[in-house]
Symmetry: C2
Subunit: 144 residues, 2 copies
DNA sequence: TATTAAGGTAACTTTTATTGTTACATGAGG
DNA sequence: CCTCATGTAACAATAAAAGTTACCTTAATA
């Protein structure tokens, strides 16, 4: 199943942006994540709508952070990308009158809801500056 | 993104099987989940490989449970269906030398690993007989 | 023994969402 | 006014599950 890599990609870009410290073009970003500028604009536009970045046209144009990375969490970015389910597990809805189908789906949904709550809580605890170079060793040196 | 509904569907079938108490044909199962017999055989074959069901050809053939539902957990079935990731979030692997990409992926992977461990633990705690008619009210009456 | 009812499986199509691409319009500097 | 940038529509490529068709094998039974 094809994965949604927008979160991973856009976080990568945002951390680079702060390090660069000037407007960054979609073309430059596209090289960072090995794709083309249109794909970049499509995703970055969602972050602009949520006011995490701004864009400007023309010479010396491009994208800029609208606030420091320390005030943005992974949850903020995840939510800005839109409400896609976090899970590959789908629930059937073919026989809504069947009590067995209901019981199965309720059990699966219980587990998914609990896991989703955990993930959103963890995402909310991680700010983007924690992904910057000064804290990288914290992750790289972890066992695993 | 298209969801994998095999777990939901096959659990539905397994609970019905015990209630029926005889060999059930792929055709009958297909009606239960609104699909066709080939799709059923494809998924059920994975459960047969893991010894949760058996199949027989010819007249009065079909599929039968190889053990009571009380000795099968949701985790058992999930594992029998093969190792597909539980999450729709994908990690990029385009610039493996980039420390920022590493830090981003490590942070996301941490969260996903924790959530996956929680889900597998919960799946392991739920046996299929808990989805039978005698316990259905436990799920249907839950607030949610 | 011939027929029928079942699973086994290969090969192909359909579906659906992300991702990739092309093309063109718009706006801001220089 | 020309160039550099974003904005966006329209379409193609990709990938995995699901759906479908076709044909084979095996077992019961008439």
């Amino acid at each position: 199943m094809r994965k949604d890599s927008r979160l991973s990609r856009v976080l990568h870009i945002l951390v680079h942006m702060e390090a660069i410290g000037r407007a960054v073009t979609s073309e430059e970003m596209a090289e960072m994540i090995s794709t083309n500028p249109v794909v970049v604009r499509r995703t970055m536009a969602l972050l602009r709508t949520a006011h995490y970045v701004s864009s400007s046209k023309g010479h010396h144009g491009g994208w800029q952070l609208a606030m420091p990375l320390a005030s943005i969490t992974l949850l903020d970015i995840h939510l800005a990308l839109g409400e896609s389910s976090l899970f590959t597990i789908g629930l059937t809805d073919e026989h809504s009158h069947c009590v067995i189908e209901h019981a199965v789906n309720a059990a699966l949904k219980d587990v998914m809801n609990e896991a989703e709550a955990l993930m959103l809580q963890r995402f909310g605890q991680i700010t983007l500056d924690q992904l910057g170079s000064d804290r990288i060793s914290r992750y790289l040196n972890k066992e695993q």
